[in-house]
Structure formats: C-alpha cells, structure tokens
C-alpha cells in the first residue's frame, strides 16, 4: 500500500467517528498548545532580562564593599563601609583600562512639589552616570563635575517621578523639596520603560553623590562605585587593575580576603539569563506532562477502536491485508490524529501566547525551535502510543476476527 493511500484510508476511518477523533486529538492539541505557550513565556522573560542588562551597557563594572567578618562572623555583602569617594578618584586616575567612574549612594525619600508629593528612591551619583549607564537625559542637562564638587542642590528626574510630580507641567527650572530641602530640577532622564515586573527603573531622582552624602544621608562612605571600562574586551583588565589598586589602598595583607567585590555586567546578566532558562525548562516540563496525558488518551482510544473494529480487521485480512498492512493502517491513524492535533495545537499555542502577552502584559516569544520541538514530540507520541494497539490489531487471527460479533 502506498503511503498516500494509507493516509487516505486513515482519514476515512477517523472521519467515520468525528466526535471521538476530535476529543482524542484534543489531548494533543492542549498538550502542544501548552508547551508552546509556556515556552514562549519563558523565552519572553529571558529576552526581557537580556534587554534590560544590555540597555545598561556591557562594559559596566560594579565595585561594592565586601562582607565584614567580626570575630569569625560574616555579615552580608555590602556591610563594610570601606569604599569612599577617594577610591573612585584613584580608580579613574590609576587604572588605564577605566574610562568613567561614578560613586553611588542611594536611599528612599519623600519628595514634594507644590501640593503633590511622591515617595521615590534617590540615587547620588557622579557626573558621568549617563555615560556609564547608557542613560541620556531627554530634557535639560545632567549635572557636571563642578556641581558635584559643590554638592549643589540640583536634581535630574526619572520620567515616572516627573509624571507624578508635574503631571504635564514643564519641570526644568522648578524647585522640588527632597526631605524638605529645596532642589532645582535641571533635567529629565529618558524613559527606560517598565520591564522588571514590579520594579520601575524610571521611578528615581538622581542628584550629585556629594549632595546625597552631606544633605540627605549624612554619610562619608559610598555604597558602590560604577565603573565603565574603555571597551567591552577591557572589562577583565579593568577588573584586575581595580583589584590590585584597592588592595593597596585598603592595606590588605597578601593572604587576606578582599574587603570589596567587583562584578561585571555580563556575569550578572548570565546569572539572570540562567534563572530564566531554568524557568523555561520548568514551564516546558510541566506542559509536556499534558502532552504525555494526551498520548495516553490516543492509546486508550486506539485500543477501543481496535476492539470495535475486529470484524473490519478480519475482512481486510480475508481480502489480502498482511500483518504489516494492518499495523501500518492503525499506526497511521494514530499518527494522523497526533499530527493533526499537533498542527492545531501549534496554532492554539501561538494564539494563547498572544493572549497572555496582551492580557498579562508579559513579553512572550514563540520560537521556531519550540514549534518544531512540540510538533516532533506530538508525532512521536503518536508513534509511541499508537504502536501497541496497532500491533494488537495486526496479530489478530483472521478466522476468529471474521467470526467476532
């Protein structure tokens, strides 16, 4: 029997029992649809994380104080107050692989403009913050090194803060109060857009770190130093140079641990991407279970179908069907069911991921790979679960089968 003929016969047989065929295929449709939409969520999350880190710049390094150990008891990372603005200055001067540095301190504050107020986070940074973070101002200007040196009471707003305090009013030149201290607005940062779920990067006010230290937080150390290497390939050099310099500056004995950590952006990005990859596997794995259940559904129905069609099998054998013809016919029916189910499931999965991104606001990405995987998987489910019933059918004795009522 030619393959096309076999498929035609299988389609005829399936169409004789449309409702049952549809319900059987439904298991596969749901399974494939679930696999595709779940993987699309995972892929979307991964993409969002990657985009976010890429938008921060890839030659970025963070220097943070290390963990403090008092009599053998370790505190968390950042518990040391060992970094200070002079470290930042030294890094810029002594390390030739470093292009920009920006000391950084932060806190949460209440801000007031006329009759409106808003609680937001405040970032005290250096003059090269926009270059390091790849985050230019949209309106107005960023503060320069002079204003930083003077600890000037100027601020640059994130777009979310601007929207909440000014509600469409032109903000540049206006005075807002941060912790009751008046600050003049000199610029507004470009909007980065929401991408981290509940965390909005535009909900921030940026001021000179000197101002933040003296007037807002009352500290002399810095919480971290953002460093930009001269190029992406020089990030490792920069890391080594900073390490060497800070060990000397902090007078760390050769065998002692660093009292600071240096992380580069690609390490952090990799870690985040890894966790979203795990998310993808997890979601895909859960969805595959439903595909497996769909496969068992196919096996069940094919077994019923074989029992119901024993006489038909006998008739086919009496007119010359061989064992392998019968095997092939029933196997083809199972495969046709699962492949048709798979195709519909792909459409359902793509549609479902569109719905998810529309209603939940998550980014979803349907990749060709996930479609191919789901399709192949559904085909092999057909072969795997169709084989046993088909074999059972082919092993029937024609005489018994013809006599079967």
């Amino acid at each position: 029997m030619k393959i096309l003929n076999t498929i035609r016969v299988a389609l005829r047989a399936l169409s004789r029992n449309k409702m049952r065929s549809f319900l059987t295929a439904l298991g596969i449709i749901i399974g494939v649809g679930a696999v595709i939409s779940m993987i699309s969520i995972g892929q979307g999350a991964k993409k969002a994380v990657e985009d976010r880190f890429n938008s921060m710049g890839t030659n970025l390094l963070f220097v943070r104080p290390g963990s403090m150990s008092v009599r053998g008891r370790h505190g968390g990372s950042g518990t040391f107050n060992t970094l200070n603005p002079e470290d930042a200055k030294a890094i810029l001067e002594k390390c030739d692989a470093v292009k920009y540095v920006s000391p950084s301190v932060s806190g949460r504050v209440q801000t007031v403009y006329q009759n409106k107020n808003w609680n937001t986070s405040i970032q005290g940074v250096g003059a090269y913050y926009p270059e390091i973070r790849n985050w230019p101002v949209e309106e107005g200007v960023f503060f320069d090194e002079n204003l930083v040196k003077m600890a000037a009471k100027v601020c640059v707003l994130g777009s979310e803060v601007k929207d909440n305090l000014f509600e469409g009013e032109y903000p540049i030149g206006q005075v807002i109060r941060i912790k009751k201290i008046p600050f003049r607005v000199i610029g507004v940062l470009e909007s980065k857009g929401e991408s981290g779920g509940w965390f909005n990067r535009d909900d921030v006010i940026v001021i000179p770190y000197t101002t933040a230290q003296k007037r807002i937080l009352g500290i002399t150390h810095v919480q971290s130093i953002d460093v930009s290497a001269v190029s992406a390939v020089k990030t490792l050099n920069a890391k080594e140079q900073i390490e060497e310099l800070l060990r000397i500056r902090h007078r760390i004995a050769p065998e002692a641990e660093d009292d600071f950590n240096i992380r580069n952006m690609s390490e952090i990005a990799e870690g985040a991407a890894e966790s979203s990859r795990i998310l993808t596997y997890l979601l895909g794995g859960i969805a595959s279970v439903s595909l497996l259940v769909g496969g068992i559904g196919i096996m069940n129905i094919m077994l019923v179908s074989v029992t119901e069609r024993i006489r038909e099998i006998g008739i086919r054998m009496s007119v010359g069907a061989r064992e392998k013809d019968i095997l092939r016919q029933f196997l083809t029916e199972a495969i046709v069911l699962s492949v048709l189910g798979g195709l519909i499931g792909i459409a359902v999965g793509i549609f479902a991921s569109k719905l998810i991104s529309h209603f939940a606001g998550w980014q979803t990405i349907v990749t060709l790979g996930s479609v191919a995987l789901a399709f192949l998987f559904s085909g092999s489910v057909g072969v795997f679960f169709g084989f046993y019933p088909a074999r059972k059918a082919s092993k029937l004795d024609p005489i018994e089968a013809l006599r079967y009522e």
């Binding site: 054998m317 009496s318 007119v319 010359g320 061989r322 064992e323 013809d325 005489i399």
Partner: protein, 236 residues
C-alpha cells in the same frame, strides 16, 4: 485431466487444542478440483466443512497433509505469503456478507485492490466493472447499510471478483437471504462460473443449491463420506 488440477488436497488433517482436549476437525481429506469446476461441499454443522473452507481459502493452515494450489504447495507458506495468495487468487463470499459498514459499495469493492498496489484511478475502474458484472450499476455510491440483503451479497461477490481470482469460495452465501433473492444469487454464481470460467466452491446444506454443482462432496466428522459428479453440467 490431471494437469489442470486447480486444487489438490492430500490427506489434510486439522486438530485444535481446546484446553486439555484435542478436537480433530479434519481427519484426512484428499480431493482434487479442476479449473472451471463448480463444487458444492455439503455436510451437517460440525462436520468440518468450515475448517476445510478456511484451509482451502488460505485463512488457516493444516496440521498435516499437503495442499497444492495452482501447482504451488501452500500448506507450508508463512502468513504474509498466504495473505498475498488470498489477495490475488481467492475471493470470499460469506453468509453474513462481511462488508465494511458506513462505506460505499464502490469502496468495499476496491478493498482488495488497496492491498495489491493498484493505482487508485485504475482500482476505481476495475471496481465499477465488477459492480456492473453483478448488476449493481447506479448503486455504486450507496453506503452498504442502504442496500438490501441481496444487493449487499452482490457487493460481496463484486469484491470477490475484482482482482480476477482463480477461485471463489462461498460459505452459505444464501443463508441470510429469502428464497427468491437466494436463487438470484445462485444464478449469478452459475453465470460467472460459465462465462468467466471461475472455479467456485459453495458450502451449503441446501440440496437445491447443491444440485447446480458439477460435483458434490459430502463431509461428516472430518472425513469425505461421498463424492458425486453430475453426468453433465445441469442447467438451471
């Protein structure tokens, strides 16, 4: 005369194992059937005539003995070879028609051609021809459950004919039909035997039907008890 033997059975025996007991359905049958013969096999139920039919029809294999069909010993062939022989050389007509339900007369008739790699266009033509041979012109696209008993049996005969077999085996072909329709079916068998020179074996216990045969074989308890040859081919 000996050279145009279509079927030659030599001491065919068939025993079944039913639990502890051995059932000896056939206990040594020897017979010869010539090309173009119309043979009736008669006997009471349980005599072994169905078992004999199954062996002649290559649905079953004898426990011992030799079966030669068209010069080929088939008693020792494996299952898939037997299926090929059923497909090419043998047509079956059953008492209960054994047609596929919810399937048209045409598709039922095409069924054997499906298993012999006949292109679908050609299969359609051959099936149409076979259906017109049994007088079912215009009924080709009816589903089998829309057809009367006589018409269904004609579809079964068309299916048996479609691959130009050397032998048609009919097991009580009129058993489910009224007398008049049964007579028409028997007349059709006779006409096909005469016009197409197809060898026919009818299993029946109706003496009237057996009377059209050239040769009558009586079976009882797994043995041939009597063979009768008509002096000349009778006319209905």
């Amino acid at each position: 005369m000996e050279n145009n033997n279509l079927i030659k059975l030599e001491n065919i025996a068939r025993t079944y194992q039913v639990g502890e007991t051995e059932v000896r359905a056939l206990r040594g049958i020897s017979l010869q059937i010539q090309q173009g013969d119309l043979v009736a096999i008669m006997g009471p139920s349980g005599s072994g005539k169905s078992t004999l039919m199954n062996i002649i029809g290559c649905l079953d294999k004898p426990t011992s003995g030799k079966y030669i069909l068209e010069g080929v010993e088939v008693s020792s062939l494996e299952k898939s070879r037997l299926a090929r022989i059923r497909n090419k050389k043998i047509g079956f007509v059953f008492q209960s028609f054994n047609l596929l339900s919810r399937t048209t007369a045409l598709e039922n008739t095409e069924l054997p051609l499906l298993y012999s790699n006949v292109p679908s266009k050609k299969a359609r033509d051959k099936a149409m021809e076979a259906l017109s041979m049994v007088g079912l012109n215009g009924r080709e696209l009816h589903n089998t459950n829309q057809l009367s008993g006589g018409e269904q049996q004609r579809v079964a005969i068309a299916r048996a004919l479609v691959n130009n077999p050397s032998l048609i085996l009919a097991d009580e072909p009129t058993g489910n039909l009224d007398t008049k329709t049964g007579a028409e079916i028997i007349y059709l068998f006779q006409a096909l035997n005469k016009d197409k020179n197809i060898t026919m074996i009818l299993v029946t216990h109706d003496p009237d039907i057996a009377n059209i045969a050239h040769k009558k074989i009586y079976i009882r308890d797994g043995l041939i008890v009597k063979q009768e040859a008509a002096e000349e081919r009778p006319l209905l």
